[in-house]
Point group: C2
Chain length 550, copies 2
C-alpha cells in the first residue's frame, strides 16, 4: 500500500534553501592573515548561486567532478553548497596527501575543474603535469595580477564570481545521485573513493542536530577545526547551515596560538578537531592564556581521544571533550561517546574514553571471523560491521573489494559492543596479532608500553612464530634523554597485561613510520621485520609467562 506522502528528495539544495530562508542572518566567519572576514548565510548562498552559474559557464555539467584543494573557508563552504546543488560532484582533496596519492585521486575521480587556495597551490603544482583530466584551475586568494607558479593558466575565483549574476536554474535532483566524494587514506594500496549521495549528506547533516550527537542549534557557533577535506568536516558545514549555527573557519591558522585567539575573540560554543589539535592547545595553555569560556562542547575524532586529554580539559577548562567515531566510508559519524544516563559522575570519563555509542540511523554489529554475529555483551571480540543510509556499500570504480559483507561495511576495526550499543575498538583487523588462537590487541599493548616513562613511542606488530602462529614485536623509540631496557619495560608490563600478551621480541627504531594522516604505518614495520631490516632482541619472559596462548 502506497503512502500519500509527497515525494520530496533529501538534497543539498534543501539544506541551502532552509539555511537561507530561516537563518539568512547567521554568519560564516573566516580567519584571514589580517583579521576576520564575515558573510551572512544569505550572502554565502548568493555567492554559491553565482559560483554554480560560473562553473556551468566553464562547462561543468551533471555528474562532472569539481575538486577542491582548500582550507576551511567561506569559499570552501560556497563550493560545498554550489557544486552538489548544481548536480555536479564535489571532490574534496586532502592537501596533505603525498604527491603520488594526490595525482592518483584527482585522476581517479576525473576532476574537470579544481578550486585551489593560493596558499597551497605549490603543493598542487608539484603534480600538475600528471593530472590527466583537469581542464581548469580556479585560484582563491590569487595575489592580484600574479599567476601561480607551476599551475599554468588559472582563473581568479573572485573574477569568476563577478562574471555572474545570481539566479542559477538549480536542476531537479534525485536524492540518490552523487553529491560529493572523498578518498580514504588507506595505508595499503591506492586510496579508495567513497561517493556520498544527496540523501546521505542530508541525513548525516540532520544527525548532527540531534541531542544525542552534538545537538547543534541556532544558538551555536561552530569552530570547524577538522578540515573540510577530511570526510566532510564530519558534517559540520551542512549541519550548521540546516541548524542556523554560525560557522567559524580557521583557514590555515591551525596552530595553538591562532586557535587560542579564535576561541577568545570568536567565542565558539562548539568545536571539532583531531586529538592532536586539542593536545597542542592544552600544552599551549600551560604558558599562555586560553579562554574556552564560550565552549559547551569539544569533539575529537579521527583517532582515539586519550582519557587523560579529556580529564585535562575537564579540569583545566571545565569543558567536555567527547569523542566521535567514524570513517571516510561512513560520512563519518557513527558513534559519539556520551555516557549512558545514570552513570555516576566518577565513571563518566571512563565512558567518554570508550569509542562511542552508536547514533540513531546507524547499525553496528560485531562479527567473528567465520561471519557469525556476536552478542552485544561487552566481551565478545570481533570485527565491527556497519550499516545505514550514510554508510558506503562499495568503493568507487572498485567492484572487487572484500570490505562488504551481506550488505554491511566491514570496518577493519576490532572490538566489542555492549548492551548500551557502546563500541570499544581494540585494534585494526590487519594489526591484530593472532597468538595461539587468541587475539592480542596491538593498540592496547603499545599503549601500555608507551605508559613507561622511558618510551617515547612504540608500535606493536605481529611476526611469525613457529609455535604460536604469531607473537608481538615491540618497535620502540626511547624518550629524549632516556635509554630503554626492554627487560625493565617487560617487568613494568607484567601487572598491566595478561601474561600471554607479554612480548618477548623488541626492536629499537629511530621513529615509528606514519601515514599521511599521522597514523602508525604498521605495514612498513612488518615488512622491515620480515626483510630482516630491524635489529630484533629476544628478551626472556618473566617466569610462568611461557604459557602464551593460555
Amino acid at each position: 500500500m502506497q503512502s500519500t506522502m509527497q515525494d520530496v528528495p533529501l538534497t543539498v539544495q534543501g539544506i541551502m534553501r532552509h539555511g537561507v530562508a530561516t537563518y539568512g542572518d547567521s554568519v560564516c566567519v573566516t580567519r584571514r592573515p589580517d583579521g576576520y572576514r564575515q558573510a551572512s548565510f544569505a550572502e554565502v548562498a548568493e555567492r554559491a548561486d553565482r559560483l554554480a552559474g560560473a562553473l556551468a559557464a566553464l562547462g561543468v555539467g551533471p555528474d562532472d567532478r569539481v575538486g577542491t584543494f582548500m582550507w576551511n573557508t567561506q569559499e570552501h563552504l560556497e563550493a560545498y553548497l554550489a557544486v552538489p546543488s548544481m548536480g555536479a560532484v564535489l571532490h574534496t582533496v586532502n592537501i596533505r596527501l603525498f604527491p603520488e596519492q594526490l595525482a592518483f585521486v584527482i585522476n581517479h575521480a576525473e576532476d574537470r575543474v579544481l578550486l585551489v587556495d593560493a596558499s597551497v597551490a605549490p603543493l598542487l603544482a608539484r603534480v600538475r603535469d600528471r593530472l590527466t583530466t583537469v581542464e581548469r584551475i580556479v585560484v582563491v586568494d590569487r595575489p592580484a595580477g600574479e599567476s601561480v607558479e607551476g599551475l599554468g593558466e588559472t582563473i581568479d575565483y573572485e573574477e569568476l564570481l563577478a562574471s555572474q549574476r545570481p539566479g542559477f536554474a538549480w536542476p531537479e535532483l534525485d536524492e540518490r545521485q552523487a553529491a560529493s566524494m572523498c578518498y580514504t587514506s588507506g595505508t595499503t594500496g591506492d586510496p579508495k573513493g567513497v561517493v556520498y549521495s544527496h540523501r546521505s549528506m542530508w541525513l548525516h547533516a540532520f544527525s548532527g542536530m540531534t541531542a544525542n550527537t552534538t545537538g547543534m542549534g541556532q544558538n551555536d557557533r561552530v569552530l570547524v577545526v577538522v578540515p573540510m577535506f577530511h570526510v566532510n568536516a564530519w558534517g559540520a558545514p551542512y549541519t550548521a547551515f540546516l541548524a542556523g549555527a554560525d560557522l567559524v573557519m580557521p583557514e590555515r591558522f591551525l596552530q595553538a596560538a591562532p586557535l587560542a585567539e579564535i576561541f577568545a575573540t570568536q567565542r565558539p560554543t562548539l568545536s571539532l578537531g583531531v586529538p592532536t589539535i586539542w593536545n597542542d592547545l592544552l600544552r599551549y595553555a600551560e604558558e599562555h592564556p586560553v579562554d574556552l569560556s564560550s565552549v559547551r562542547l569539544l569533539v575529537g575524532g579521527g583517532s582515539a581521544v586519550p582519557r587523560s586529554l579529556m580529564a585535562a580539559y575537564q579540569e583545566r577548562f571545565g569543558v567536555t571533550l567527547l569523542q566521535g567515531w567514524g570513517m571516510t566510508e561512513t560520512s563519518p559519524v557513527c558513534a559519539v561517546s556520551w555516557p549512558p544516563r545514570g552513570v555516576p559522575a566518577e565513571e563518566e570519563l571512563t565512558w567518554r574514553a570508550k569509542t562511542g555509542r552508536v547514533v540513531a540511523g546507524v547499525e553496528v554489529r560485531v562479527v567473528a571471523e567465520d561471519g557469525t554475529v556476536l552478542p552485544n555483551d561487552g566481551r565478545s571480540v570481533g570485527e565491527f560491521e556497519v550499516r545505514g543510509p550514510w554508510i558506503t556499500g562499495a568503493y568507487y570504480k572498485d567492484p572487487s573489494s572484500d570490505r562488504f559483507h551481506d550488505g554491511w561495511l566491514r570496518t577493519g576495526d576490532v572490538g566489542t559492543l555492549d548492551e548500551h550499543n557502546v563500541m570499544v575498538i581494540s585494534d585494526r583487523t590487519k594489526d591484530v596479532i593472532k597468538s595461539g588462537g587468541e587475539w592480542i590487541s596491538s593498540v592496547d599493548l603499545e599503549n601500555q608500553v608507551m605508559a613507561h616513562p622511558a618510551v617515547f613511542e612504540a608500535a606493536v606488530v605481529g611476526v611469525p612464530d613457529p609455535k604460536w602462529g604469531e607473537r608481538p614485536l615491540v618497535c620502540y623509540v626511547p624518550a629524549p634523554g632516556h635509554q630503554v631496557d626492554p627487560a625493565e619495560v617487560l617487568a613494568f608490563l607484567q601487572d598491566r597485561v595478561v601474561r600471554w600478551w607479554l612480548p618477548e621480541r623488541w626492536a629499537a627504531v629511530p621513529e615509528v613510520p606514519k601515514t599521511s594522516v599521522g597514523k602508525f604505518d604498521k605495514k612498513v614495520l612488518r615488512a622491515k621485520a620480515l626483510a630482516g631490516e630491524l635489529t630484533i632482541v629476544d628478551v626472556p619472559l618473566p617466569e610462568r609467562a611461557e604459557t602464551a596462548g593460555r
Copy 2:
C-alpha cells in the same frame, strides 16, 4: 552518477531496533487506576514482537489495516512499533469522533482488526453494527472473564500476547510503503485519510531530536499528553524510542489533578499537549500545589497557544511553553515557535506567541489567490503552502481534492511568513472575510472581541453585504453574570483594529458551536446566519468608520 552509499530504508523497524539496541533500559511508564506500570524499551519491543506474531496469526498480512481505539499507554506504543514493522498499516482512530465519523473512518480505512481499550469500548459498541470490514476486536484491559457489551466476540490482548513466542520474522520493507494512517477532523464533508510512510515517520521522528525543535535526548523523560490518536502524538513516541527518552503515558487521566500528580511523581522533563490542558493545569495550580520543577520545556499545539498562557507559565513556574504548528496532513510538526536568536528578553514572548518557525525538512510559502508566491516579508498575506518528505501529497482514496498545488499542500491557513521563516497564521481561508477587496482576519477580530471582560466567547463569520461583498458578523456569548452591549464593545474595539474591520453586525448566541476536536465550527454559524436563525442586530459604527474597505 550513482553514489556508493548503501540502500538502507528508513523504517519504523529501524526505530525499534535502535531503541532496543541502544536504550533497552529506558522505560515506558503508564498511569493506571491503581498507580503506575513500567516496562523497559527492551520489554516493550519484546511484547511488540509477540504482538506482530499474534496479529499475523489472526490473518493480518501486508498492508492490512489494524486500527487502534486507545489512550496513551504502553500497549498503544507496542502497536505503534509492531503494526508498521510487520508491514501492516496502523490506523489510529480518534476516540472522540462522533459516531457517524467513527464508522466512516474505520470503514473507509477498511480496518480488519481493532485494538480497543476496555474503558472506551462502549464508544465503539455504539457503531459496531455499522463496521463492515472489522473481523476481530482485541480488547486491552478487559475485565477478567467478562465480555465487553456490544462488541460481540472479543479477544483479550494479554491472552493474545501469551499465545506467542518472540522471534517474529520481520519482513523487508520499502521506506515508501504505508506505515500508518490518520484521518483529519475536517469541519466540512467526510474526514479525509492521510497515509504516512515509513520514511515520513522516520524523518519526522528524527526531527523531534533536533535542537531547534524539542531536542529530545536520552536524558529526557517525556509526558505525552497529546493523544496517540491525534496525529501520531506529534511524533513523540517514535522520537523517544530513537532518542532513548523515557515515555510517561497518562492513559485516560488527563484532568488537571492526575496530571499534576504525574508531573510531581514521574518528573518529566518535557511534555506535549493542547493549550486547553495547559490552561486547566494552570487554573488548578491556583488552589493546589503543582510541581513542574522537573520540566525544561512544554509544547502546545493543535490550536494557537495564547500569549497570556505562555506568560503565566513563565511567571508561575519559570517554564517555557512553546507552540508547535502542524496538521494531520503534515505528520504534524512543521514549525516551532523558538524566537530567532538575539531577540531581547522582553520580546521573547511576542515571538513565542507567533505560530512558529519552519523546521528543517519542511518548506513553507505564502501564496496569493492567483497562485503567485508572495515574499517572506512579514506583511504579504496569503495561504500557506507546505512541502516536504513528511507532508501529504494526496488524500487516501480521494483523487479529486483541490488541496494540492504544484506539488505543495494547500493548508487552508492564511497568514504571513517573515525573513526568519516565522509563520503567523491569521485565519483559515474558509473563515477569512473578504470586505471591499481586502481580507479581514476573523481570528484576530474575535480575539479582540473576547478581550472585552463582558464577553465569554465570540466567533466572527463573514456574511454577504451588497456594498462590500462581505462584512463580519460577531456571534458572542456573554460572560457569566455579564450583559454585552455591542455598542460598548465596538467602542472598545475602536483603538484595537483598523477602522474598516469594525463589525456592525452582532448576534448573541447561547454558545459557539464546536467541532469534535473543540475548534469553533464557523460553518454552522454561517449557515444559521444565512437561514435567518440568528437574531442579528445592526449597531451603528462610530463616526468616520464607514470607509470600510479603506
